[in-house]
C-alpha cells in the first residue's frame, strides 16, 4: 500500500530493509525460507543477509545464523551491561554440562554411550533437565541390538550457545583429529594400526579416522 514511499532506494537496499524488518519483528529465529514467505520469493535474501551482517558488524546489535536460522541479538561485548544474573540461578550440574557436551560432540549418541564416556550412570533428572531446557531431543533409535534411543542437540542449543552450526563447537575439529570423539575400542584399534604402520614407516593420517567418523 505504501511501496511508493521509498522510490530512491536501489533494489538491494530495499531487499535488505525488508529482510531486516522481518527478522527484527520476528519473535523467533527464521530460516531463509521463512523470510521468503514474508518478503517474497523474488528477493535475494541470502545477499540481503550478507549485507545486513556487514552493516551490523560494528553495531550494538548483530545478525547471526544459528542452525540455519537467523536472528538479531545484542553484541557479545555488551554482555556486561545487559547480563541478567537471575537467569543464572538455575545452574546446571556438572553431570548435566558433561552430558550436554557429550551429546553435542557425539550426536546422535545413546544413553549407554554417554555413560561409557562418563564412567557413571546418568541419573534420572540429567537428560530431563537438558530436554526441558530445549537443548536436547530424542533422535531416533539406533538399529543395533536393543534398539537404543539416541539423543541429539536442537537448534535452540545452537542459538543459546551462539553456534552457527555444530561445526562451530569449540575445538571439535581438533578433538576429531585427535580421535578423542572415537570410542575407546575404535581408538585402541587405530592406535594398534598406527603402531603397525609406524613399523612399516608409514605414519598416521588423522583424516583417515575423520572419514570413518563422518560415515
Amino acid at each position: 500500500m505504501t511501496e511508493d514511499m521509498t522510490p530512491d532506494l536501489d533494489p538491494t537496499a530495499d531487499a535488505s530493509r525488508a529482510v531486516e524488518a522481518t527478522l527484527f519483528a520476528a519473535a523467533e529465529p527464521l530460516s531463509v525460507q521463512d523470510v521468503a514467505a514474508y518478503v517474497g520469493e523474488d528477493i535475494d535474501i541470502k545477499g540481503a543477509l550478507k549485507l545486513l551482517q556487514e552493516l551490523y558488524a560494528t553495531r550494538g546489535i548483530e545478525l547471526v545464523e544459528r542452525g540455519g536460522k537467523w536472528h538479531f541479538q545484542t553484541a557479545g561485548d555488551l554482555a556486561h551491561i545487559l547480563r541478567r544474573e537471575r537467569e543464572e540461578n538455575r545452574k546446571l550440574s556438572r553431570a548435566a554440562i558433561e552430558t550436554l557436551a557429550i551429546i553435542a560432540y557425539h550426536e546422535p549418541v545413546s544413553r549407554a554411550e554417554i555413560e561409557a564416556i562418563r564412567g557413571v550412570q546418568i541419573s534420572k533428572g540429567t537428560l530431563d533437565v537438558l530436554m526441558e531446557a530445549g537443548w536436547v531431543r530424542p533422535a531416533g533409535r539406533r538399529e543395533t541390538p536393543g534398539r537404543p534411543l539416541t539423543f541429539a542437540t536442537t537448534p535452540a542449543f545452537l542459538a543459546h550457545f551462539g553456534l552457527a552450526s555444530r561445526r562451530d563447537l569449540p575445538g571439535i575439529d581438533d578433538l576429531r583429529a585427535a580421535g578423542l570423539l572415537d570410542p575407546v575400542d575404535l581408538a585402541f584399534e587405530s592406535m594398534d594400526f598406527e603402531a603397525r604402520a609406524e613399523i612399516d614407516g608409514d605414519r598416521d593420517d588423522p583424516d583417515l579416522e575423520n572419514d570413518e567418523d563422518e560415515a
Binding site: T22, F24, A25, A26, A27, Y38, H71, F72, Q73, T74, A75, G76, L78, A79, L82, R83, R84, E87, E88, K91, L92, S93, R94, A95, I97, E98, L100, A101, I102, A104, Y105, I117, R118, G119, V120, A159, H160, F161, G162, L163, L169, P170, G171, D174, L175, A178, L180, L181, V184, A187, F188, M191
Partner: protein, 256 residues
C-alpha cells in the same frame, strides 16, 4: 586441546579443588573415573604422557585414606581400587604373554578413557563460557511478531455437490409411514354388534353366538376379546346381564 586445558574452577559447579584432598570426601566425585581424572590432572602433564602407575598409587592412597577415616565408600570405588591394584601388579611383574588382555593394553585403555572424559569436561566448560543467549546476549525484548493470515482455498467437486443436493432432497421428502391394516374387531364395533344382537333376548346365550363369522383365526381372537370387553361394558351400563358358572366355564349373555 591439551595445551589449553581449562581450569577446573571454570565449571559452574566446580568440584573440590585439588588441595582439598585431605578432606578425602569421595562422595563429591562422580564415580571412580571422575576421581581418577582429577588425580590425573593433578599430575600437571598432558594426559597422553600420564604415568598410569603413579595414578594408580594416588588412587589407592586416596581410598586408603578414606578407609582410615572410616568414611562410607561406595562399592564402585572399591571395585576400581581392586582393579587398579591388579593392574599395578600386572604392570610391575615380568611380562606374561599368556595374559590377555595385557596389562599394558588395560593401562592404555584406561588412559584413553580418561582422555575422552577430560576432552568432554573441557568442551563442557568452553560451552558454558560462551556468550549465551538470554544471559549474555539477548534477542529483541519486544518483537512485534509476524502474522500469518491463513487463506483457505476451498475445495469441493461436482460429484460432492450433486450428491449433497441428493441428500438434501432425500431428507426433505416427507417420509411416508404405511402401517399394515390389521384385521381386528374394534371395541366400538363389538359394543355396537353385541348390543344389537342381544336386543331383548331373554334366553341365556353363550357369547360365541354373537361373534362374526371368519376364517381368520387372528380376527376370531380379536373379535372374542373385543366382544368380551363389549359385554363387560354393556353390563356396567345395565343393558345386559352376564352369567358364568365357574372359572373358564362358558359365558352366557342375555338382555337385562
Amino acid at each position: 586441546m591439551s595445551g589449553e586445558q581449562l581450569e577446573l574452577d571454570s565449571f559452574e559447579t566446580a568440584p573440590p579443588a585439588e588441595d582439598e584432598r585431605l578432606t578425602v570426601d569421595v562422595g563429591s566425585w562422580e564415580g571412580p573415573l571422575d576421581l581418577l581424572l582429577m588425580l590425573a590432572r593433578s599430575q600437571k602433564v598432558d594426559l597422553r604422557e600420564i604415568s598410569i602407575l603413579a595414578l594408580v598409587d594416588q588412587y589407592l592412597a586416596y581410598i586408603n585414606d578414606a578407609r582410615a577415616l572410616k568414611l562410607e565408600i561406595a562399592a564402585d570405588y572399591l571395585v576400581m581400587a581392586a582393579w587398579l591394584a591388579y593392574l599395578k601388579s600386572g604392570l610391575l611383574l615380568p611380562k606374561d604373554p599368556e595374559i590377555e588382555p595385557s596389562p599394558e593394553e588395560l593401562a592404555l585403555r584406561l588412559q584413553l578413557r580418561l582422555e575422552r572424559l577430560n576432552a568432554m569436561r573441557d568442551a563442557g566448560a568452553r560451552l558454558m563460557a560462551r556468550d549465551r543467549l538470554g544471559r549474555d546476549v539477548f534477542m529483541r525484548g519486544a518483537p512485534e511478531g509476524l502474522r500469518v493470515v491463513r487463506k483457505a482455498l476451498w475445495d469441493a467437486n461436482l460429484f460432492e455437490l450433486i450428491q449433497a443436493y441428493g441428500h438434501v432432497k432425500a431428507r426433505a421428502e416427507p417420509p411416508l409411514h404405511i402401517v399394515h391394516q390389521r384385521n381386528v374387531l374394534t371395541l366400538e364395533e363389538a359394543i355396537d354388534r353385541v348390543s344389537r344382537l342381544v336386543g331383548s333376548l331373554v334366553e341365556w346365550t353363550v357369547i360365541q353366538r354373537f361373534l362374526p363369522e371368519s376364517d381368520d383365526p387372528q380376527f376370531r381372537k380379536s373379535a372374542l376379546a373385543s366382544s368380551f370387553l363389549a359385554t363387560l361394558e354393556l353390563a356396567r351400563q345395565g343393558k345386559i346381564a352376564l352369567k358364568q358358572d365357574d372359572a373358564f366355564a362358558p359365558l352366557y349373555v342375555r338382555a337385562a
